[in-house]
Amino acid sequence: MHEFFAMGGYAFYVWMSFGLTFVVMVANCWLAARRHAATLRQIRRQLDTSDPLGPATVKEVVA
């Protein structure tokens, strides 16, 4: 077991690489989820404060 973690003396380089990969992957998931939540929040807010006709009829050119 100790041998496994020692990685033949390259422990720092090997585990840093795998650790960084883990961090980047978790960050990717987290940022995507956060962005989705923020998008929903933003649209909801826009719906609340928009004019009484409702945004569905507003001919705002978005894209």
Partner: protein, 256 residues
């Protein structure tokens, strides 16, 4: 055929499709990464030259592969967006950029961590593979900055698309850099006829590449959903979805 294509590309359909596939792709990716890690860290023998340091390959090569794949996806989507004026294609390009950038960073970082014990240096400015990969990171960041700097979305899409397409030249150079110039960076590992990797080493690598790609796909789909919502925020289906009074689409709202 045309009708099918039209339906496929319709924003609510894409939103639902991406929402359905993203969790499955993520689950498959995680299982694959688990299997790949077991094969790469435990089952595979140490390299006769590089010892256990060679195991960095199992995260370095898939990351580098995704850094290029992400850019190609971004560029192809940009071409489609420019030529056929397809808004969805631009949404794909915008969604791919941050993911590609993150894996480009990872390719550089793990490469550096591999280079230090093998070459004795973290970084070599004269190495073409490293330089072009660094330029790739700047291209991603440039695309993201440019796109967010332009207020008008249509103009931002077009300007970004042009940058993405021009930058494809760099992807070609990254790929062939180890063949065109001999440098510190070693040659290709996968599909190299002169130095065939034994199956015990190669199989986990291929599993990791496939799993990383699935992971990329899952995050791309998740980001695409946000991008589609934002771009379609005045459409009735989005309004219904966000306020939560359409049972057929409510799945997406729960996700957040």
């Amino acid at each position: 055929m045309w009708k099918w294509f039209h339906q496929l590309a319709s924003p609510p359909h894409i939103y639902r499709l991406a929402g359905f596939w993203a969790p499955w792709m993520l689950a498959l990716a995680l299982i694959g990464v688990g299997v790949g890690l077991y094969g790469g860290l435990i089952k595979a023998p140490a390299d006769y030259q590089q010892g256990d340091a060679f195991r960095i390959i199992y995260v370095h090569v898939p990351s580098a592969y995704l850094s290029l794949l992400g850019y190609v996806i971004m560029a192809v989507a940009s071409v489609i967006g420019l030529i056929w004026r397809m808004k969805l294609a631009h949404a794909v390009a915008v969604s791919a950029a941050p993911i590609g950038a993150s894996f480009t960073f990872l390719a550089l970082a793990t490469g550096s961590l591999w280079g230090k014990p093998m070459w004795g240096t973290w970084w070599e400015w004269s190495d073409p593979r490293m330089m072009t990969e660094l330029i790739l990171l700047f291209l991603y960041l440039g695309y993201m900055t440019l796109h967010s700097a332009i207020e008008d979305r249509t103009r931002a899409d077009r300007a970004g698309a042009v940058l993405a397409i021009v930058g494809v030249v760099n992807v070609v150079i990254v790929h062939y850099s180890v063949e065109w110039w001999s440098s510190l960076h070693q040659g290709q590992t996968v599909m190299n006829e002169d130095a065939v990797m034994p199956a015990s080493m190669l199989t986990p690598l291929l599993i990791m590449i496939v799993s990383f790609s699935l992971f990329f796909g899952a995050v791309l789909f998740a980001r695409l959903r946000s991008e589609v919502l934002l771009r379609e925020r005045n459409a009735r289906w989005v309004k219904r979805l966000v306020t939560g009074d359409a049972s057929s689409l409510s799945k997406g709202a729960q996700h957040a």
